[in-house]
């Protein structure tokens, strides 16, 4: 066995096999990334598209999960584009592809021809890092506007309220004389524009053509003649209408009522989560992840904890999370999945015009789950519950209110009874009722069946994830494809539906909730068995020593695959912190899905993707 280590590796590790094959095929262009703590291959930009095509077609890595850029200022002075590719639906670990470009003339070939799902992600890298992608058909800013000066994720870019590169700030202690950031940088003077930019003669780049049709008006003469002719018309849906699910805009080109083109416009809620993440220490990022997809803060926490634990595991004294911690984590995450799917179904019905009654029925049980989160983690939605190596605190014995304010009403229940009641009785009943209530409703069937179809090959190409991917007939679930936590020992099926329309996405969410309840039922005895066991491995440290390297931690969030790409340079703060937001990347498919449908279907299709703007805009 020891005589031929190469042969052993090739059989055991599909990624090593793929890398060996690529090195044989492109000896000049492909080198292995041999930096300490890094994996994957570094590809010469010249042959990036060629290698990417081979990776997709010959090796079967057909799914581009995440594409993001890292600025290695002072560590080689280059930008590195990192692509995480997977085999879908086969599963397994990622093949990581990297391409480098000098900082002063940052240009890389676009891989959009290989993986169309790179569309928004390359635009994001262009917007935030300033890398130009040759061959990208629509390379313009996506999260920021044209009047924004510079590319904020570059390491030498400083925000208006810049204080220091990394937290903790020295001004807070021991001489922490308080002042407000806006006192240093008052309103009106806190905005910088690019050179030569004036607000007066500003027209948003790429938006002018959107309005071309408007001046023409509608020719009434033609409308009254037989053989109805219609004009092309551009309509702005959003940014502020309840059915756009937040501040999200869709520029829709209509022909009559039929959609010819749809361009999503986003970034209204952008706060540069990733830059904040680089300023933060590793632990400080945890509460910030709550604010991504604020419906599912528990699973956001888990994804980030997994990524950092993967980095920590490169170090010498790493202890994996305890078993009890894993049980509690899965409990929280699956409850979150039910919450999120209930929410998605409820508000899909809102989008279909059933105003609030179904939505309120759907989210009634959510209250109970949030009450549980509040009693365990301290907050209903901003849970901040996971820690590296475990969780914040064990489940309390009782879910009990403590009267403090005038008129406080107290409730008091044993936690495990409460959980057992919810999991065994109330949730299954609520799901059945929802099923009864909606599934055979003729209006829903007519509005949803055959609308917004996303064929499986398109779903994979556009990097769609989660319910969107599985409703298109691709049985891919990260919990099974690349298992984490205790999912391997749990008994559940990957829900899958085959028509890829709104109706199937709705049905899939119902299926998935049933599977979640199935998982939760298996967790109850495990919770009882592990009672009293430690909930965190090792000692709790507020600044853990994170070894140098990179890690990509991903979880099956209710909205889809949520990934965190974290690079550590051995310091207190992450060197790079990137979030692969499922809502954001799922929107890539929105335009193609709506094409040819009626304007009234747009909002329903958007609702069936189930986006949360906190995560889209980051």
């Amino acid at each position: 066995m020891a005589e031929n280590p190469a042969a052993e590796v090739t059989t055991a590790n599909p990624v090593a096999e793929a890398i060996a094959a690529l090195k044989a095929q492109f000896p000049d262009a492909v080198t292995e990334d041999d930096r300490k703590g890094y994996t994957g291959i570094v590809v010469d930009p010249e042959s990036l598209v060629e290698v990417a095509t081979a990776v997709r077609d010959t090796l079967g890595y057909n799914y581009l999960s995440s594409a993001t850029a890292v600025d290695y200022l002072g560590k080689g002075d280059y930008f590195e584009m990192v692509y995480h590719t997977y085999r879908v639906p086969a599963g397994g670990p990622p093949l990581v592809i990297k391409a480098r470009t000098p900082r002063d003339k940052a240009t890389l070939p676009s891989v959009i021809s290989v993986w169309p799902g790179a569309d928004f992600q390359e635009r994001e890298a262009y917007d935030l890092m300033g890398i130009r992608f040759e061959g990208h058909p629509n390379l313009k800013r996506i999260l920021l506007w044209e009047g924004f000066d510079g590319h904020p994720l570059r390491k030498d870019w400083k925000e208006a309220y810049y204080e220091q590169d990394q937290k903790p700030f020295d001004s807070r202690w021991p001489q922490g004389h308080v002042h407000r950031a806006e006192e240093r940088n008052p309103y009106g003077k806190n905005v910088r524009y690019p050179e030569g930019f004036t607000l007066d003669d500003f027209t948003p780049v790429g938006e002018a053509p959107n309005y071309e049709g408007i001046d023409l008006g509608v020719n009434v003469q033609e409308m009254t003649t037989p053989g109805l002719k219609t004009d092309r018309l551009v309509v702005n849906l959003g940014p502020h209408h309840p059915s756009t699910h937040g501040v999200f805009r869709m520029v829709v080109t209509l022909n009559g009522e039929t959609v010819e083109d749809l361009q999503p416009v986003m970034g209204y809620l952008h706060r540069n989560h990733e830059k904040i993440g680089e300023r933060n220490t590793f632990l400080q990022n945890m509460p910030f992840t709550d604010r991504l997809d604020y419906i599912t803060s528990m699973s956001n926490n888990l994804g980030y904890a997994l990524a950092v634990e993967r980095l920590l595991s490169l170090g010498p004294r790493y202890q994996p999370p305890t078993y009890r911690a894993e049980v509690i984590r899965v409990l929280m995450v699956e409850l979150t999945r039910v919450v999120s799917h209930m929410w998605a179904i409820g508000f899909l019905l809102n989008d279909l015009g059933a105003f609030y009654t179904p939505a309120l029925y759907a989210i009634a049980e959510r209250e109970l789950i949030l009450d549980f989160f509040e009693a365990v983690a301290g907050s209903r939605m901003m849970c901040n519950y996971m820690r590296f190596g475990g969780v914040f605190k064990d489940l309390p014995e009782r879910i009990q209110g403590i009267p403090l304010l005038a008129n406080d009403r107290v409730r008091n229940e044993a936690t495990l009874d409460y959980l057992a009641n919810i999991i065994n009785e109330r949730l299954p009943r609520a799901i059945d009722e929802l099923d009864n209530y909606l599934t055979n409703n003729e209006i829903i069937v007519t509005r949803c069946q055959g609308v917004g179809i996303l064929p499986p090959e398109m779903a994979i190409a556009y990097s769609a994830a989660g319910p969107l991917l599985r409703a298109s007939g691709v049985p891919y679930d990260v919990r099974r494809a690349e298992p984490y936590s205790i999912y391997p020992e749990l008994d559940f099926d990957v829900a899958v539906r085959y028509n890829g329309d709104i109706y199937d996405r709705y049905l899939l969410r119902i299926d998935e909730m049933r599977q979640s309840v199935r998982i939760l039922k298996q967790l109850l005895p495990r919770l009882r068995e592990t009672e009293g066991q430690p909930i965190i491995s090792g000692s709790k440290a507020y600044s853990p020593r994170v070894p140098e390297g990179e890690a990509y931690g991903r979880v099956e969030n209710p909205k889809g695959e949520l990934g965190y790409y974290v690079v550590s340079d051995g310091g207190q703060n992450p060197w790079r912190y990137h979030v692969r937001a499922p809502s954001y990347i799922n929107l890539t498919a929105l335009g193609p899905m709506t094409k040819g449908h009626k304007v009234a279907d747009i909002v329903a299709i958007l609702g069936s993707i189930d986006i949360i703007l906190g995560e889209v805009d980051r």
Binding site: F169, S171, A375, S379, K393, Q400, N407, Y542
Partner: protein
């Protein structure tokens, strides 16, 4: 039959509509808004039917122990025998370092005679507009001196003058912490080895040891 699905759905709506009234009937004459009724109608019990509206602010749901909303600083009870009102904070600065949005500002105290730092904050500020209620300060404070509050009714008319809390505004007696978090405060006291501040307990233990030695020697 076409329309059957809609009718079935309407049946669910009707059931929801009636459920709440049926539930109300169960509490007829016994009072709809008593603690017993409240406990059942807000619980996770399967017996519960229909919806129940909590009529804030006439009634409020008491928050659980771990609820976190804006930190406060623990001080000795004002009627304590030793050092009444003494602040527990030693201005070690860990909370300021761990705070994700960096809303904690501490001026470390100095001894006026020696000019050396002393374990007490001279000033302590929290900008509550910036605080994200994550609770990390309370979690990592080695002296149990900063804790998360339960009082969420903090609305005020002017943020510029009201929203930076200073030491006086932040300080609350230890008995308050015990009252809002009976189990957690008891667990912490057990870990410290007594109800007093960690340093006080250390001093006491030291004094006891020297006393023991003294009695042993004589």
């Amino acid at each position: 039959m076409y329309g059957l699905g809609i009718l079935k759905g309407m049946g669910v709506t009707l059931k929801h509509f009636l459920d709440t009234y049926i539930e109300d009937l169960r509490f007829l004459g016994k009072g709809k808004r008593t603690d017993v009724a409240f406990n059942l109608r807000q619980s996770g019990s399967n017996q519960r039917l229909g919806l129940f509206t909590v009529e804030y602010p006439e009634e409020k749901i008491a928050v659980p122990e771990r609820f976190r909303f804006i930190p406060f600083l623990v001080i000795n009870n004002l009627d304590a025998e030793e050092d009444p009102g003494k602040i527990w904070c030693t201005s070690c600065g860990i909370c300021a370092k761990v705070c994700p949005p960096q809303c904690i500002w501490i001026v470390r105290g100095t001894d006026p005679e020696t000019g050396r730092p002393k374990p007490e904050p001279e000033e302590f500020y929290i900008d509550i507009d910036i605080c994200m209620n994550c609770g990390l300060c309370a979690e990592f404070c080695p002296f149990d001196a900063i804790k998360m509050d339960h009082d969420y009714e903090l609305a005020s008319y002017d943020r510029t003058t009201h929203h930076i809390f200073d030491k006086a505004r932040l300080s609350k007696e230890f008995r308050y912490w015990r009252s809002i978090a009976p189990t957690i405060s008891a667990e912490e006291a057990e870990a410290r080895g007594g109800w007093e501040h960690k340093d006080v307990l250390k001093e006491k233990a030291k004094a006891a040891r020297t006393a023991d030695k003294a009695t042993g020697a004589s």
